[in-house]
Each structure stands twice: as C-alpha cells, then as structure tokens.
Amino acid sequence: MALPIDKYLRVAKMPHIWCPGCGHGIVTQAIVRAIHELELDTEKTVVVSGIGCSARAPGYLHFDTLHTTHGRAIAFATGIKMAKPELNVIVITGDGDAAAIGGNHLIHAARRNLDLTVICFNNNIYGMTSGQYSPLTPQGSYATTSPYGMLEKPFDLCNLVIGAGGTFAARSTTYHARQLTNLIKEAIAYKGFAFVDALSQCPTYFGRRNKLRTPLEMMNWFKDRSVPVSSWEKLSPEEREGKFAIGVLTKAQATELTEVYKQLIEQLQQRGGE
C-alpha cells in the first residue's frame, strides 16, 4: 500500500537527527504503515515520547505530539487518555526511558490496563548520550560505562509487562520490518494496554564497541538470535540461551480502565439524578 507521506510525516522537519544506519527510522516507518493500514483518524491520534533518540520521532510525525521528560511519557499519556478516551494514544519510548527511569510507569500502566500502545525503540544502549549501558544491554557487552563488559543481567521487557499483568505484549526487530508493522497494527487495534518491544540497531554507539560495526551486521545479529514464538515454546532453557522470542507473546481479554471509569461516572450520575 502506497503511503501518502505528507499525511503522516512533518516533511518540513526533516532531515531527522538520527545517525546513518540507525534503526529508528524503520520502527517509525512501521508505526506509520500500521496507522495507515488501520485508517486511524490522524486528528484523533496522539503520539507521546520521553527523552532520548526514540523521543525525537514524534517531532517528525504529523499528529498531536508531545515530547515529555525522561521516562515519563507513559505518565503524560495516562492523563491524555483518561481525559479523552476517544483518542488513540501511542507512546514511543526508548529502552533506558522505559526500563530504567520510567520502569515504574511501565509496570503500572500494564497493571491498570489503560488503552495505550507503547512501542519501545529498544537499541539496548543510551544513544543520545553516546553509548552508556541500559537495563537492556546484553551481559558482557561493551558500553562507555561498561568498559570491562556489562556485569548486570538485562530485563526481558515483554516478560516484565506480562508479570505486571499486561495482557498484550509482542516483540520484533528492524530485520523483521513487515512483522513489526503487523505487530504494531495488532497492538494499536487492541483495546487495552499493548506493549511492543521493537529491537532497533545502534551501530554508532553499540555496534562499534561490540564487533557489529555495520547496520547489516547488527540486523543479522537480530536475525540470528530471534526465534518465532511458536518454535520458542519447544526450546529447552539451554537452547534459549542468548536468543529471544518474536511475535505476539501474550494476548488476552481484559477490562479496560477508561471503560470502567465511564461506567462509574454513568452510575454515579444516574444515582444523583434519581
């Protein structure tokens, strides 16, 4: 399907600030394609971000957009969605943004089941500040703040969301751009809190320090380690070592918060009107 670029992008704000080879353009494109294929009303769609490389995406997207403080995008988005439940609210966040400084907001939004779509541009590094380790940096990897290799274990963000009671979690990568688009589409269409872990390459600040100097090497690194969720189920813990599942990891029916709140208001006002 041909994309009417001007409808979705603020072309006048280009060129973007991302480095050559960065995966964030691919994820942004996947979001735009998903919105286009779902035929969302561009006047009723709000895109919210935090701070970091990912956070600059909304500036290029032609919707109501909000570039907030570090880690807090989901909290700002909560206010927007509660205030106007009829809006489609999409949150773009980075891995440092979502899992470190904003981890608390992520788990609580999942628990509340507020109808937000959260897409994590996960490049497993702090790119904007030039390459410090994040809670998603693989163990042993090098970053400016892990000069001897990353000592800590990383998060599995989908498992975190599921553990917090989240009812939609999916993962894909920039290598799997078509799948990523479909997953984002499914996430936006889902009524409730939906989380997509979108692995995105940062050859500049992660790849160069980890023998993955080119975007292609990084994308192959995604390809080689990813396992479709159907096959993932059959793998032993040893076979899963160093790999990750892609696809829809969980999808269940659950009561959504703004719906519940709407019912409460109606009940209270009926009672008051009697």
């Binding site: 709000v46 032609h62 403080t69 807090r72 909560t78 206010g79 509660m82 205030a83 608390n104």
Partner: protein, 382 residues
C-alpha cells in the same frame, strides 16, 4: 426558601470544592500527609461531576498526568506536600516551558526531607519560587482561611487558564486541616475563566506565538484531538513549538515566557491591608501566621501601638508595589513572622533597603507563631 448556607469545612476540603467549582475535571495524585484529604475528596467527588480521578504510582507521574490531561483540554490539578513537591519539580518545569495550565497544591509540612510530616510549616516558599531548574517565573497563592482556600483555588485555576501556566497553591498544614464555618460563594458569584482557544485554521496555528492572545505574550491553546496537530516539547522551541537551536529565537521565547508573568504583576499580585493607613509598625505575614498577626495587630492597637498588617495573598510574583507603599509611610519597623528560617525576609529587605528595619520572627519545629510573640516584637520595635 431560606436555607442556611453555612458549612463546616476543612481547608483541604475547601480546595476540592473550589477546584470543582472552577471546572476541575482531572486530578492525579499520590497519598502524602498533610495533603491526602484533597486526593480523597477528589476521588469521591470528581466522578460525580463527570470528571476523572486517578491515584498514580508516584508524585512524578501525577504531575505528568495532569500535564497530559490539560493538553487534552481538561482543567487539571494535583496535590502534595514537601517531599512530593520536590519530586514534582521537573514536570512542573515542563508545565512552565510547555505553557500548560494546571494547579499544584502544596500543603506545607516541616522539612527538610521527611521532617515532621504532621506539623505545620512555611518552608517551601522559596522552593515554590525556585524549585525547578532554569530561569522561570511562577505564580504562587497562599490562603489564610478555609474560605480563602476555596476562593484562591478558583483564582489559581483562573490564573492558570488565563496565563497558560502552572499555579502553585501554598497551604500550610494549619490551613489545610483547619475546620471553619464558611459560607461559600454561589455559582453566580463566582468568576470562572477558561483558556483562550485559537481562532485560526490548524495550518496557521502557532502554539507559542510571540504576539498573540488576549493577554500579550500568552498565545491561545488548542487541545489534543481538535485537529490542530501541534507539538509540545520541553526543548526550547520556536513559535511553532518545534525545537530550535537559534539563539535569537530562543532568547525571545524565553523572555516571553518570563515576561508574560513578570509584566503582569499588577494584575497578579493580591494583598490584604489590615490597619495599614497609619501604621507605625507593620507585620508582613501570610498563611496561618497571618491569623496570629491579625490578633497581634488588634492587641497592639488596644495598648496604643499603631500596628498594621500587610498580608501577601500572592506570594509569587512578589508584592513589591504594596511593600513600596508601606515604605512610603515610613514605619518604624516591618516585622516578618514565618514558620521557616526567614525565607521572605530577604525580598522584604530588598524593598525596604536601609531606611526601615526588618525584623524576622522564625519558628522551625511545627509550632505556630503566637500573637503574644508578635506583640512583644512590636513593643520592642516601637
């Protein structure tokens, strides 16, 4: 049908009544003593009024959520106390920079840190002014009674909406928990103001225009979902709301942001003058402390001391003009009682200069300053 309108209300409760009367439709908060009743009353009353309440996971998220809701078009508020007020500062700065109308209530308790959570204080006066980083203006209002907790909450919303700015409502624990008999203004008596909306097509809309708006320098604000497709960022931005690194544009925008408040001090700065006309000794007091000062002035008058009080209702911007009038009356002294180590003494001194002695009375440990203490300071001064 004559009906007794008198009600027994708590200060914190009056804030919620005032807020809903002013059009509050979204509250996000986090429990903290001594402000919790505000969240509790909002939880009970907002959905009845068709509004929304949410208890967020922390203070930071509460401040963020009210910014989001306000951008979506709802009048929004949060409430907290010292430690929570510290946590809110980053997103309070975001509201300043994004020019997002909202009200932040701080019911002050003894600090620093956890301090004395149930004890009264006025120690956050300077934090209200300078708590967030970078050059910015802030509006802060300080009620001294339960009725004023109501009326100033309405005023806080009006200022927030008219000036596209966060407004801090500074209560102290005493006023927050005080119960008084009050007769609240009727709906007809209330003046409720709403933000100015753009009247241009979306493609011409500049959310941070230099030269638009009823109040110069306060551009109209669209709401998300109305088709304007506008961008809000904490990055320094141009008129269109997009980041700029151009020093000339940045300087202009940052000056506008500050001057929209600082050049409207006359409209924003409210004071109460109590026996000031012939006063030889003037008390400068606010919040709960002003209640002791009021009695001290009466007691002083009874023993022949010409005492008066200037009570700043607006704490920020600072009430310089009213103090200059006091100075012109050549009082023998200005006494500044505060439940802190003298946070407003310096601004008072900077107006008085060397010509009028400025005498602080300070208490730090959650004890009210008594009328007797103020009276004895007056006796010494005259």
């Amino acid at each position: 049908m004559a009906k007794n309108q008198a009600r027994l209300l708590q200060g914190n409760e009056a804030v919620v009544e005032g807020a809903i009367a002013a059009g509050l439709r979204f509250f996000a908060g986090y429990p903290i003593t001594p402000s919790t009743e505000i969240a509790e009353h909002c939880a009970a009353k907002l959905p009845v009024a068709g509004g929304k309440f949410i208890q967020m996971e922390d203070e930071i998220a509460s401040m963020a959520a009210i910014c989001g809701a306000s951008l979506a078009g709802l009048k929004s508020m949060t409430a907290t106390s010292g430690p929570g007020f510290s946590l809110k500062q980053e997103n309070l700065g975001f509201a300043v920079k994004g020019e997002i109308p909202c009200v932040v209530v701080n019911v002050q308790r003894v600090g620093p840190s956890t301090g004395m959570p149930t004890s009264t204080a006025q120690g956050d006066v300077m934090q209200a002014r300078w708590g967030s980083h970078g050059d910015h203006e802030i509006v802060a209002l300080c009620p001294a009674s339960v009725k004023e907790a109501f009326t100033l909450t309405v005023e806080a919303f009006n200022i927030a909406e008219e000036y596209r700015t966060p407004v801090v409502l500074l209560l102290d624990e005493t006023i927050g928990h005080l119960r008084e008999k009050v007769i609240l203004p009727s709906k007809e008596e209330l003046v409720v103001k709403d933000r100015e909306k753009p009247n241009v097509p979306p493609e011409q809309y500049k959310p941070f225009a230099m030269d638009q708006g009823r109040i110069p320098g306060v551009p109209p604000l669209a709401a998300y979902g109305e088709g304007f497709k506008f961008h809000v960022t904490g990055l320094t931005h141009g008129e269109d709301g997009f980041p700029t690194g151009n020093p000339a544009i940045a300087e202009k925008q940052l000056r506008r942001l500050n001057e929209k408040i600082s050049s409207n001090k006359k409209a924003l700065c409210k004071v109460e003058k109590f026996f000031l006309e012939d006063a030889e000794v003037v008390i400068f007091a606010y919040g709960a402390t002003a209640r002791s000062a009021r009695k001290a002035v009466r007691d002083a008058r009874a023993v022949g001391i010409k005492a008066g009080m200037l009570r700043p209702i607006t704490i920020w911007p600072f009430v310089e003009d009213a103090l200059l009038e006091v100075k012109a009356g050549r009082p023998k002294a200005v006494i500044v009682p505060e439940m802190n180590l003298g946070q407003l003494v310096l601004p008072v001194k900077s107006v008085m200069g060397d010509s009028v002695p400025v005498i602080p009375i300070n208490k730090l440990a959650g004890q009210l300053i008594t009328p007797e203490e103020i009276l004895s300071a007056m006796k010494e001064a005259v």
